[in-house]
């Protein structure tokens, strides 16, 4: 068996980031999670940090190191998505306040220190605005030498979601996305073209329920009320954006894509944050991203269910509680 992949997750939980954390922590034999860095995003930093801690505690992993980072994007005020994720970012079940604490070190310092010291290249999974990583690159560009790959949820070839043009993570901090896209390190982009294919369904929620474990139960409660995309975009279910990043790291063969040039719009126009993805290489520019556009939907959900099943069945007292 291959050694666990050294991994840092940069995120802004958010319901789908929350699921992504639980997927990572369900596979300790696959991932050596060095830390979770958090930025302001879907909801303000106070809540995203809290939610990351809640995810770790729900997974029974209070030992995971969580670092709070930049509260706002590089050049603009933060646009939140409270309408999607709820005021605190985790609409639905009332989870207990975390007893574990975030580390005192700033996320940007953790990224620089960890990457500069790493004896083995580290994989970055990002599921929020890219502010933390961009600031780390500006401060210490040599960290790029110790990054194995960066897999980013962001961008869209088709329509956007936060605006008609732009996907949320890239819209929230386009300048940070630009810094990553021009870093010389190719990004793997998991955009809306993929994530709008992996939609929750009543059948899958029943499957999760049947796992009879408290983690899956919590997710079912969350996903039941996670209906913004259904109402706004007419999607058949809730898109699991961020979990796609983790699925790609575990089973890249579930996805198809192409190496192309991607440029993010930095204007203050209606197109701000839009990714122009040169799928047909019309501009003959550097291939700075591996853009995914196809996913094996069944394979994705099977993998996710399988991961979540590892959290074990409920105890008899929990079952009794569940029945009532």
């Amino acid at each position: 068996m291959s050694k666990p992949l050294p991994l840092i997750l940069d995120c802004d939980p958010g319901i789908d980031d929350f699921i992504a954390i639980l997927m990572i922590l369900a596979a300790p034999e696959k991932f050596n999670l060095l830390g979770i860095t958090v930025s302001g995003g879907n909801v303000p930093l106070k809540y995203t940090t809290q939610n990351a801690l809640k995810a770790c505690e729900l997974a029974g992993r209070p030992d995971v190191k969580v670092y709070a980072g930049c509260p706002s994007p590089m050049m603009r005020d933060l646009t939140c998505e409270s309408v999607v994720h709820g005021e605190t970012g985790l609409k639905g079940p009332a989870l207990p306040m975390p007893t574990m604490k975030a580390q005192s070190q700033h996320a940007v310092d953790f990224l620089i220190e960890t990457l500069m010291k790493a004896d083995k290249k580290v994989t970055l999974a990002t599921t929020g605005p890219l502010t933390n990583i961009a600031v780390a690159i500006v401060r210490e560009p040599r960290i790029l030498n110790n990054i194995d790959q960066i897999v980013t949820m962001g961008g869209s070839m088709l329509l956007g979601n936060i605006t008609p043009a732009a996907e949320y993570n890239f819209y929230a901090d386009p300048e940070a996305a630009h810094i990553l896209l021009t870093s010389g390190k190719p990004l793997t982009l998991v955009g809306l073209d993929v994530t709008h294919q992996i939609l929750t369904s009543p059948e899958w929620l029943s499957e999760l329920k049947a796992l009879e474990n408290p983690v899956a139960d919590t997710l079912v409660e969350m996903l039941k009320v996670h209906d913004y995309d259904v109402k706004t975009f007419g999607l058949a279910g809730a898109p699991l954006h961020d979990p796609a990043v983790i699925a790609y790291l575990l089973k890249p063969e579930l996805f198809k894509g192409k190496f192309v040039n991607v440029e993010v719009d930095l204007s203050f126009n209606i197109t701000r944050g839009r990714t122009t993805i040169d799928w047909y290489n019309k501009r003959h520019l550097e291939q700075n991203a591996h853009v995914l556009n196809e996913v094996d939907v069944k394979g994705f959900f099977d993998l996710t269910t399988d991961l979540l099943s590892s959290y074990g069945a409920l105890s008899s007292s929990q079952k009794k509680e569940r029945m009532s």
């Binding site: 980072g69 930049c70 509260p71 706002s72 994007p73 590089m74 050049m75 700033h106 940007v108 310092d109 502010t131 961009a134 600031v135 500006v138 401060r139 210490e140 560009p141 300048e175 630009h178 810094i179 021009t182 870093s183 930095l266």
Partner: protein
Amino acid sequence: MKKIPLIMDCDPGLDDAVAILLALASLDEINLLGITTVVGNCPIEQTEQNARRICELAGRPDMKVYRGCPRSFFDFGFRSSFTDYVGSDIHGETGLGGCKLPPPTLPLQSQNAVNYFIETLLNSPTKITIAASGCLTNLACAFIMEPRIKEKIEKLVIMGGSIGIGNITPAAEFNFYTDPQAAYVVFTSGVPIVMIGLDTTRKTQTSEKWLAEIEALGSPVSQAVIDMLSYYHRPDAFLEVGVSGGVLHDPNIIAYLIKPELYKVREAYVEIDISSTVLAGRSTVDWHGKLGRKPTATVVNEVDVKGFFALLTERLQRYTAYKKA
């Protein structure tokens, strides 16, 4: 007069070096807490070394020097190559012109400049003034990482920008051009800003007469200043049209803190251009209030040149006394 607690953020550079010497000679007015360095006139390895060299030259081996960002927010290939070329043309290969100071023995602080800003400002019971004479990357990173430090800044005196034409491009002044995005972050931060741009600094040009005055001081510091500034007076020096000597851009921010009465100012709305057009890094100053927007900076446009050089001579003279003592 109450001493101003000050942090200098710079990229020495000839004129930054003179600014440091001016600050360190003004102990009655300025309490210099630390010097942070950034890429700019030369690569970061040189700017931080030069800062340490200058502190040693000034007899201040106790000074704390911090290394900051080695690049700007956006890493434009054209920009760094242009910078390399023009930077070394103006400031010489080492960034200190013809001045050959030994490698510094003063240690570099291990803390990063950005973290130094955050820690010092957050923990300071009183507000601190910052004088910036390079690109604003360090400060912008610090603002993004820890926005609460903004409240701890008394004011930010910046050498940068121009009401009129630029120097590195027709539109932009060098410090803002090398990192327009960082300048944008700083100018939209709400921190009180004093902007001293080319309109002012172009007026403070060295003359042969003033250089002779400094040379006559006969101290190691005055000799180093001559070695540095004579670089501007060499026959093949890169000079702007209408400029006959070295332009002492950066010492103006320290002179402003010591003797604000040497300067004329106006409150104005300033916006930094962050496009990728010919305007990149331009500071648009709404001098006449045409836009009706709330002023974002105190913009300096005039300086008492004679008073400025008199101050500089008087302060550099103090090093003579120091050396003799």
